[in-house]
Symmetry: D2
Subunit: 297 residues, 4 copies
């Protein structure tokens, strides 16, 4: 339980609702800033204006997934209020107060450093990245179904990378009946692909491997789907690039060659905001409990 733990939730999207639900269930006391247009009321949670929050008594501050914008503004889909995370506010929180976001940016980093507060970027954590790979895979499936005229079942599918997302993608497309090959730079990952019943090959051979590829799904955050690779793809192939911007594909060349190539947006928040929120809520609750235990002892 998180009884008597005082938390401010500042803005965000549907994912924050799962966090709020979870934390109130655990008996934390919440100040919700930027939720005044939300119909729903949570017992134990008070909707407040930024200036009404008791900053001095906060144990944790929960920011939206993107943290702030480059100027420190916090977005909320449930509010028209303009919310800024000013350094002065942060400095008013107790030293032990922890900040949570999905990712960070130079503004947020600077504020945290200068005020000497801890920021936990949840998306940096391996557990969160792996849980998030689940909705990411489902979003990828949806894209593959929508943007092709053939089934995933029976299609020659190459997955690049066997990291946290790549492993989930590769296994799931295999289970859907795709003929999956995994391209990777490590001999260990090739072995794992084989053990999983897939083909594994070295990225160096990619050019020779793509000739009969129907689906090329990239998870490597580096330019691997280069022009010479694209040039060898059949014209009906679809490239789905999951790596975060700018992706690992030469999109300009793909367009020139007439190969459809899609840079996936952040899928979890789009295809399954509720699940994506639950993932964050569970990890957050776990971390807050651990911090509490530490403090006690």
């Amino acid at each position: 339980m998180l009884t008597d733990v005082q938390i401010a939730v500042l803005g965000g999207d549907a994912r924050q609702l799962e966090i709020i639900r979870k934390l109130t269930e655990l008996d934390a006391r919440l100040s919700l800033v930027g939720f005044e247009q939300l119909d729903h009321a949570f017992s134990g949670a008070v909707k407040e204006k930024l200036e009404d929050v008791q900053w001095e008594s906060l144990d944790a501050v929960i920011l939206p997934v993107p943290g702030t914008n480059p100027e420190g503004k916090i977005d909320s889909i449930f509010s028209n209020e303009v919310i800024y995370l000013h350094e002065e506010l942060v400095k008013r929180t107790p030293e032990h107060c922890i900040y949570f976001s999905g990712i960070s940016n130079p503004y947020l980093d600077k504020v945290m450093t200068e005020s000497n507060r801890e920021l936990i970027q949840l998306f940096d954590r391996d557990d969160v990245a792996i849980y998030n790979s689940i909705p990411t895979v489902e979003g990828t499936i949806m894209m593959a179904i929508q943007h092709t005229d053939f089934t995933i079942h029976g299609s020659n599918t190459i997955v690049l990378g066997l990291g946290r997302v790549g492993m989930s993608v590769a296994r799931t497309f295999h289970h859907l009946g795709g003929k999956v090959s995994v391209g990777t730079r490590s001999s260990e990952d090739i072995a794992r692909a084989v053990e999983m019943g897939l083909n594994g090959f070295s990225l160096e051979e990619l050019k020779e491997r793509v000739k009969h590829t129907d689906l090329l799904i990239n998870t490597i955050p580096a330019l691997v789907v280069r022009p010479e690779i694209i040039a060898h793809l059949p014209s009906h192939a679809l490239i789905i690039d999951l790596a975060s911007k700018p992706g690992g594909t030469d999109f300009r060349y793909a367009e020139k060659r007439g190969i459809k190539a899609l840079l996936a947006p952040g899928l979890p928040g789009i295809v399954a905001p509720k699940t994506a929120g639950l993932i964050l809520a569970n990890v957050l609750a776990q971390l807050l409990k651990e911090k509490r235990e530490e403090k006690k002892s």
Copy 2:
């Protein structure tokens, strides 16, 4: 090979293109009626007007999936020509000439009976129904992803029926990480569900089973998702009804209760026309080869 076999393909959609491709590969001679707006040319296939076809020398006639409309008109997405399958034309074909469609209707049945020609409805065949279950499943996955805010992975999923489509749906949703239970009327199907690693239960218990259901997927062509079932579903549940019109769900009651319920259209032709065409092309080619062998011997 189908050398010297003379076939007319009358109208249709993208699926017919795969059939045409396959049959020309096998060296059949094709008359294509209703394809004049199609850019592509197939060697061995001639685009003709209905009246120019040599009906007397045809070995087979391939109609679109729906056959004709109730008045005998044949639709083609590649043509503005108005094409009717008149009884006189059918009677001009040799007695051994076989007609193929996906499904039939009273008009088509009547023409076939009166002219004493054989019509093979491909969708009636078990093999076609099973192959078609593959794109059907992918369409169902797409619908489930689009119409919920949670992942299939981890969701409580009930599949009704373990026939040709139900078995494919149940296994695939299990492989996606859904917690799948199968409701069926036969003890044999319950055993198969258990063997597959799923839960199996008798349809009689459906009411007690739906309380925590997130996804309810029906494949039974009978009214099984009745008001008392819907009344027990949680409000966030999604019903996807795959059974052909009018489906097996009381949609009126679902709407009243505020439960989202979707009657799936014909998914194979929508989500994967190329695969759907290939399925028909392969079975057709196989059947034509067999007929040819029979005739020879």
Copy 3:
């Protein structure tokens, strides 16, 4: 519940213990004949001699899986008592009394016919056959591991037949990483194999298919693994024949060619007697409950 239902259990092996356990749990009253060497006592069950049973008040009689031997003798591994199922005894039971065994034989058939009592052969039921396919598959896996020097993973595996056992075998060997092809006589089963992610082929092509086969698993109760098939197998291949005696393999020829070929014994009772007993117990209990409902109404 089976309160007040009077049942005699006559002989058998470890599987009967699960039946006894289940039925006593459901509050049935049991006479156990041929269990005097069993240490364990079940509340609600009385160990008796054959002659002490109250035949006139029995609602059901449970025989061992093989029923009787050809002369009517009932085997029990828990007893030295000689037990015969004489026709007179059967005739003393009430007309509604039902007999259960796994399989039957001419003796048992005759006794049942002449006394006009119902015999339910549990192994004839589809649900039992499918549940039993589970331990059968595990026994097959064990045999494949023990009798080869290579892994199932990665091995070219052919499964003949896609019936109740064949489907379970094919899927499980696929899940273990085997490269599974299914040989069958029906186009429907080929389609199902493909949908499951396996290769499917017509039995007519078997000869051409076995050239690189490592494991050949037969479930078809007919001579399909004929000399010309065996002659095409590589010398290291292993044949496991699951079909009931005499199997579907020309064992004499296999031996001559030096190909290892094994006729599987009844696997469920050997590799997992407890599970095999539970399967029978559950179906039996369900049937007895249904019979009871019928009688009541």
Copy 4:
């Protein structure tokens, strides 16, 4: 190809045969020491006595999986010759000559250090460990089937550790229909277990989790199956401990409590020597090719 590469293979078991086969296929020139009882001849490989080997021209020396015994003796199942790997011999090989074994020991380490030669322990490599997890899993399945009277399908199975072996074990038992939970110390592994469709839990909760466990499979090389864990297991449970000697189980206590606990021997060489040999052969060949490229450039 490995044309002109000069390699000595010293002793070993069936696994070496696959290595010899692979290397001769790649056109290497082999001296086989300790194989005089082997019937088979390999073209390009010469059976020699230790003293006849041209040590000065060797590019690689392949030892058996265990390397040597603590005194430097090399075992061979194909020979009665007594073979010692003396330091003098090693020093006669060129400086670039590489030694290969599965594992090492103080004797071997010392010889290598003092002669300043490179020893590659293949079992230390991640790729080999992952490939070897495949036969390890099959051996584990065999043990589970042989030592229980219930099926893996449907059994409550706990796998401890989600490393190179644990991941393969967990997935495969899940695919066999086991209800698999994974106990691990890292939140990342819990997330991966969940993503795989399994339960994941922290090792700290192990005591509470084992109450209904049928199969407990340990892959953690540390004492985790401690007395208090064993005390909570049901009496029919089976413990299979895969961790290398002395395993991670308190076997003494398990015996006292009457719980069957098995310390698995080295399974790959036992259940699938051919596959185990192929794994080593492929990695060896790959490494030798890379070394050769390096040397060239």
